[in-house]
Amino acid sequence: MSKNKSEYLISRKDNQYEVIIGLEVHAQVTSESKLFSTSSTKFGAEPNTQVSLVDAAFPGMLPVINEFCVKQAIKTGIGLNAKINKRSVFDRKNYFYADLPQGYQISQFKDPIVGEGNVILDMPEGQKKVGIERLHLEQDAGKSIHDLDPQNTFVDLNRSGVALMEIVSKPDLRSPEEVSVYIKKLRSIMRYLGTCDGNMQEGSLRADVNVSVRIKGSKDLGTRCEIKNVNSIKFMQMAIEYEANRQVDLIEEGNSIDQETRLFDTKKNETRSMRSKEDAHDYRYFPDPDLLPLEVSDEFINKLKSDIPELPDDKKKRFIAEFKLSPYEANILVSDIDTAKYFEEVVAKMGKNKDIKLAVNWITGELFAVLNSKNIEISQSPISAKNLAILINLIKNGTISGKIAKTVFELMMDGNKDPQKIVEEKGLKQQSDPKALEALIDKIINDNREKAIEYKQGKEKLFGFFVGQAMKASGGKANPQLINEILKKKL
């Protein structure tokens, strides 16, 4: 058996266990208003200020589907290479909770709007296809706040009725690392489509994680546990690691796994039982009689298809073909839509005589370092794509050296200054006039006669000394290539 280095296995004594993971991702649909009402979905408003009579389930209030949210779900389905169902049905999922004003959540149970699809993951060992089971639309619940008062629970209904897409994967994931790449890829696709902002801090993307384990090589799936509502990739990975090991230990001790819903305690880094299968809610799903089945035409779907932008997989292929990037470089540039946009803008602004390699290096090197240190997104970059393109062109056409460019880059950060102006104002322009440089070098050779003789006698490493002297004399502005050429000639 060939050993795959990156394979994630849990070893105990003689046994090796494989971990089987499936995700139910809840992605908040990017939309102005809620799934069935006209209330705003804006994040961070005062509690209970974005609540309509429909959201608060007043008597006689009726849901009316938000067509935009339907379009968003279909676009996402297209992005997941999935089957779009021309007829889907909204069901009621019935349960009581204080932050669920209707006493039911409107969701899609038997007939979701999107069927089977797939997502391609770029793993270090190659590409991996992860199956998508379905995508359906549903309402979010409100928020219960338990820690404001020792006796009472407060309820904020701003989120109540906000549109969510539940994206259910097949149990195709095999490691915490794959889960991370999968979530990032989903996020990337949805951000390209503009259907979900993917903001995990604001709860726009969260997941229920299904985990089971089995002896490596076994074909049967083990009993799974579902870890509810995990809201960061890091926590998902920690939860999986803990849960898989817990299950393996149980099996090794001769116990069986109970199918149950568990919670991940982020402070203790452990999963805890929330409810067993026997205690599972009976949601009494049935088609919502307030809503007719949702029917969309081929025309409607095709129109949306024609509006789909270039998605990360295609963009990556194009970057490799068009710009001769390595798959690695292309991946870095396409994974986030804003990075891809920035890169493409730099390329466009560089004009005819462009140096793509240089642009990639500057973006993934200097620029990323700055963004990381400032902990900001590329969309908030202090240096515009246009100015970075100008800077790169200045290097490319020999106006400044790479070294000087770094100085200019530093100066650009303060108010996104035009690099051209900085170079002029600070007099940083590279000296490329051969006559002036010859004069400069003649002087250096004159001043260092003994060393020049030593060099000629074979002490070749002294060449570096002369280059250094020349650069120093020029204040770092001399064109290093010319210096090299002239020195070789003169010495």
């Binding site: 009579l53 008597p59 006689g60 007719l292």
Partner: protein
């Protein structure tokens, strides 16, 4: 004009348009009679003083081009009315005043009508005798201690007792037609999707439909014309071409094919109902209609189907009444305890029974056997009608299997109570329009009604047939004003 309250809506509208009477005079008369009629217990909430204010205001600047100019109207307390308490006949909404108006009532006010008050009904429209109301039972103006039917019992009593010239009820399984039949008035359940459900306290969403209850067919047509509008706020509202029903009303029904379904001849049907039906057939013939025997083979499954579908939807629709947001809340130790106490104390026995039935039929393991099967049967029942309408233009049946019964007589026998809806529920399950018109009296002199069922969106046709038959039947309601001291 001392006999104002005896006038039909059409007469009142004509008189007000001819300036023979003012809105204030009319309103005063109906308020006075309503005040004297407390024993009927038709009202849950009275809004008399503001009705009089509105009438005065109307008279100052009367817009006589409206369809209901300055006409006072009391409505079933299932319609949400802005800033006026709306209870649905339940303790759980005892203190609830909506900040919004239902589309149907708004349509009425837009045509110049004035709210008199909110009329009693069975709790959440669940009942056939108005005895499940938290606000007490309603008396039938026909006779003391006689139920007015339900769930729109207060509405029927108020029209028959002349406390309001006309009203609107809601009909989920017969709640307009059965009380209309019991009180000797006309009641129309429109096609599902004809009248908006926005702002109507929901019972069973796929069956609920608002409709007019009136003294005669013409009034009924006029109000239907006002309340039936397409409404984008109700996803099940249907955008079809609506007639001006009252203008297009005609008693010429020559050659219309009227079907008589053999399955409605149920076992144990009282002779007087059989006789009434035969009388109706003869009247229809007299009007020039052609009588055709038809079959609706799945009729006997309609009632059990209805008592699965309606409670299932109700169990979910009523989940929102949990004490958290509005309405009655009982004190509890914790959230679950509060829910249980609120709903145990807030809902009456019949509502609780239907919530239990509904919860049961939707439960995992039972869903397929009950709810899913019921939905399939519902489709078969609709297919029956579709088949029949290939041969006929309308269907004639009795409205109810009996005349009004005594208060308390069936209260503790839910199955016998449910049997009241046997002729009306198939119409709701199929989403069709149906109208009940008074057609005769039983041996005790209590009114009996006939039902005319139409094709979907064909309200005009059944109104025309009802109009023609009404003329031939020449029904006189025997109202003695026994309750007025």
């Amino acid at each position: 004009m001392s006999d104002i309250t005896k006038q039909s809506l059409s007469e009142l509208v004509r008189n007000i348009k001819n300036k023979k009477v003012s809105s204030e005079e009319i309103t005063k008369e109906f308020v006075n009679r309503s005040e004297k009629s407390k024993e009927l217990n038709a009202y849950i909430t009275e809004d008399y003083s503001s009705a009089l204010d509105k009438a005065k205001k109307f008279d100052q600047k009367p817009n006589l081009n409206l369809k209901l100019p300055g006409i006072p109207i009391a409505v079933k307390d299932l319609f949400c009315t802005k800033d006026i308490r709306t209870t649905a006949g339940s303790k759980i909404l005892n203190n609830f005043a909506p900040t919004y108006e239902s589309t149907v009532t708004q349509n009425i006010w837009n045509e110049g009508a004035i709210l008199l008050g909110k009329l009693n009904c069975d709790e959440f429209a669940m009942g056939s005798s108005n005895e499940t109301s938290f606000f007490g039972n309603v008396q039938n103006p026909i006779n003391k201690n006689l139920v007015p039917g339900g769930s729109s019992g207060g509405s029927a009593s108020a029209v028959a007792g002349q406390l309001t010239p006309i009203t609107i009820g809601t009909d989920t399984g017969g709640s307009i037609r059965q009380p209309a039949s019991f009180t000797g008035i006309v009641g129309l359940k429109p096609t599902y999707g004809s009248c908006s459900r926005y702002g109507i306290v929901a019972f069973a969403s796929s069956l609920d439909q608002a409709g007019p209850m009136a003294q005669n067919v013409k009034d009924c047509a006029l109000l239907q014309e006002v309340i039936s509008t397409y409404d984008s706020k109700d996803s099940t509202s249907i955008n079809f071409k609506r007639n001006e029903y009252s203008k297009e009303l005609t008693n010429n029904i020559k050659g219309k094919k009227i079907g008589i379904p053999k399955e409605y001849r149920v076992d144990g049907m009282p002779k007087e109902i059989e006789d009434l039906w035969q009388k109706g057939i003869n009247y229809a013939k007299d009007c020039g209609a052609q009588i055709i025997d038809i079959s609706l083979p799945h009729t006997s499954y309609a009632l059990p189907t209805y008592y699965i579908v309606a409670p299932a939807e109700a169990s979910s629709n009523l989940a929102r009444y949990d004490g958290v947001k509005y309405g009655f809340r009982a004190k509890g130790e914790n959230l679950i305890d509060m829910y249980e106490k609120t709903r145990s104390e807030g809902f009456g026995a019949e509502v609780q029974r239907r919530i239990m039935i509904g919860t049961y039929v939707l439960s995992s393991g039972y869903y397929d056997a009950y709810y899913l099967k019921a939905q399939k049967v519902r489709k078969l029942i609709k297919n029956d009608f579709d088949e029949a309408y290939k041969k006929v233009d309308a269907i004639l049946t009795p409205s109810t299997p009996s005349a009004a019964f005594k208060i308390g007589e069936k209260k503790d026998d839910p199955v016998s109570m449910y049997l009241n809806d046997i002729f009306t529920v198939p119409v709701n399950l199929a989403g069709l329009p149906g109208i009940s018109i008074p057609a005769g009296h039983d041996s005790k002199g209590y009114p009996l009604g006939l039902q005319i069922i139409g094709k979907a969106f064909d309200e005009q046709n059944i109104l025309n047939i009802a109009y023609a038959m009404e003329e031939k039947i020449d029904f006189k309601n025997k109202i003695t004003d026994w309750w007025i001291k």
